[in-house]
Structures are given as structure tokens and as C-alpha cells.
């Protein structure tokens, strides 16, 4: 049992347990807090894979941005102390059956397929912010200038749309 394996087991246990709690908790604010734990553990997995920049994005944008947005909207729209009503047993059974069936099919497919064991030495490679920034604005091979521009338009449109939709109308 190497230290990597121990770290992986801790992160994946946190992810699995808290994602189940996220979808089953009856107090909505607690569900949002459990979602925060899931997202932070995912950032831990990214740190394990040496994607430091992506892990930082995950922490700031997901854990810092989206969860705070969700918590704000919970505070605006729900009674915090109140418990959500439980869905009917039939609905829960069928949903669990669908999720379990799909999950088992995928897990069996993953276990059947022999992925090549490419041992990558993570201690030597270095991905700097420099490389990421150059790839973001380069138009050649492995360049992401077009998706970068498209996503900036999308963010602008989403921002304007959110403001317009949530604005109070005078009528």
C-alpha cells in the first residue's frame, strides 16, 4: 500500500460518501455543504495527478464560486430549518434501480477492458502556467484560441442573461 494509494482511497471515500449524502440529505443547506466536500476532494484528486492549475480552478471556481451561489439562492428561496419532503418509495426504488443498472454496466465495462499500464513518472514532468497560457492563445497545433474566445462569449452571454432574468421588473 503506497502513499498514493492511501491518498486515493481517502479522496475517493470522501467523494463517494458525501455525494451519496448530497443527493439523500433532507436538509437542503446540509446538502450544499456536502457538495462542497465532494468538490474539494475532487480538487485533491487533481493535485494527486499533478494538475495544480486545474485543482486551483476547481477550488476557486467550484468550491468558492458555484457553491456560494447555490447557498445564497438556498437562503433566498427556502426555509433553512425545514426538512424536504421525502420522495415516494416507488420513485426512489425505480431511480435507484436505474442508477444501479447503469453504474454496474459501466463498472463492468471498465473492469473488462484492459487499459495499457503506462507508468508515467510524475516527479519529472513540469506543466507550468506559462505552457497553459501559451496554449490558450496559440492557434496552431495543441492551441486553444478558438474555444477560448467562444467560452468568453458564452460567459459574457450568461452574465448578461442572468442579470436580465433575475432583475426586478417594474410593472
Amino acid at each position: 500500500m503506497t502513499s498514493n494509494q492511501i491518498m486515493f482511497f481517502i479522496f475517493s471515500a470522501v467523494i463517494v460518501i458525501f455525494s451519496i449524502l448530497t443527493v439523500s440529505s433532507r436538509r437542503i443547506l446540509r446538502a450544499a455543504t456536502f457538495l462542497l466536500f465532494v468538490l474539494v476532494a475532487t480538487a485533491g484528486l487533481y493535485f494527486m495527478l499533478r494538475f495544480n492549475f486545474l485543482a486551483a480552478i476547481q477550488l476557486t471556481l467550484y468550491a468558492g464560486g458555484i457553491v456560494v451561489l447555490i447557498i445564497f439562492s438556498i437562503l433566498l428561496t427556502s426555509q433553512v430549518g425545514q426538512k424536504l419532503e421525502l420522495p415516494s418509495v416507488k420513485k426512489r426504488i425505480f431511480a435507484a434501480f436505474a442508477a444501479l443498472a447503469g453504474g454496474l454496466v459501466c463498472i463492468f465495462a471498465i473492469l473488462q477492458y484492459n487499459f495499457p499500464i503506462a507508468v508515467t513518472d510524475l516527479s519529472t514532468e513540469r506543466t507550468t502556467i506559462d505552457d497553459i497560457g501559451k496554449a490558450m492563445i496559440s492557434t496552431g497545433k495543441y492551441g486553444y484560441a478558438l474555444p477560448f474566445e467562444v467560452i468568453s462569449i458564452l460567459l459574457l452571454a450568461a452574465m448578461i442573461g442572468a442579470i436580465i432574468i433575475a432583475k426586478k421588473r417594474k410593472d
Binding site: V16, P87, P116, L122, K168
Partner: protein, 105 residues
């Protein structure tokens, strides 16, 4: 994949997270909890992209860029969805999917 952690373990964790999100999306009735399940689904896909990137092309950054774009899409989707939810709450004082039938008939 590296030092005792094979690729399939990452994929299995992501699969479990994805289908837990599907379960939550099917079961929940509150719009905000459904949005939270959606975030779980998007997040699990990111883990897959990053793990495959490390296995196939450890010196390139394709999977990481896909993940960054997915995170940006998720952020814009969450902001617009929450704006819509707040607007619905302002009109109907309720964000339960089964009670929203204003536009139905």
C-alpha cells in the same frame, strides 16, 4: 497508472459519482437540489478527462483544457439556472418542480 493507482480506479470513482448524480436528478423535487446533482454529474466527467489525459498523453494538456471549458460551462449554467430559479420563486413563491404548472394549459 502511476505508483500503484491504475486508471480504472479513477474511472470507477467517477462512474459512481455520475450515477449518484443521476439518482439525485431523478429523485429530487426541489430545483436547487436538482442543480446540485447536475454539478455532481459534470464534475465526474472532469475526473475522467483528466485521468485519461494523464494515461494517454502525459506531456500534453488536452484533457485539462476540456475540463477547464467544462468548468466554465458549468459556472455559466449555474448562474443562469439560479437566476431563473429566483425569478420563478418571485412569481410562484415555490421552487418545487411538481407544482410549476403555470404555462401548462
Amino acid at each position: 497508472m502511476f505508483d500503484g493507482v491504475p486508471l480504472s480506479w479513477f474511472l470507477i470513482v467517477a462512474t459512481i459519482m455520475f450515477f449518484v448524480g443521476i439518482y439525485g436528478f431523478l429523485v429530487r423535487k426541489n430545483l436547487i437540489t436538482m442543480l446540485m446533482s447536475l454539478e455532481l454529474i459534470l464534475n465526474s466527467v472532469n475526473i475522467n478527462f483528466v485521468a485519461f489525459n494523464k494515461l494517454l498523453y502525459p506531456n500534453h494538456l488536452e484533457g485539462m483544457f476540456f475540463s477547464i471549458f467544462i468548468i466554465a460551462v458549468a459556472a455559466s449554467e449555474a448562474s443562469v439556472a439560479i437566476a431563473i430559479i429566483i425569478n420563478i420563486y418571485r412569481r410562484l413563491v415555490n421552487i418545487d418542480v411538481e407544482k410549476m404548472e403555470e404555462m401548462k394549459y
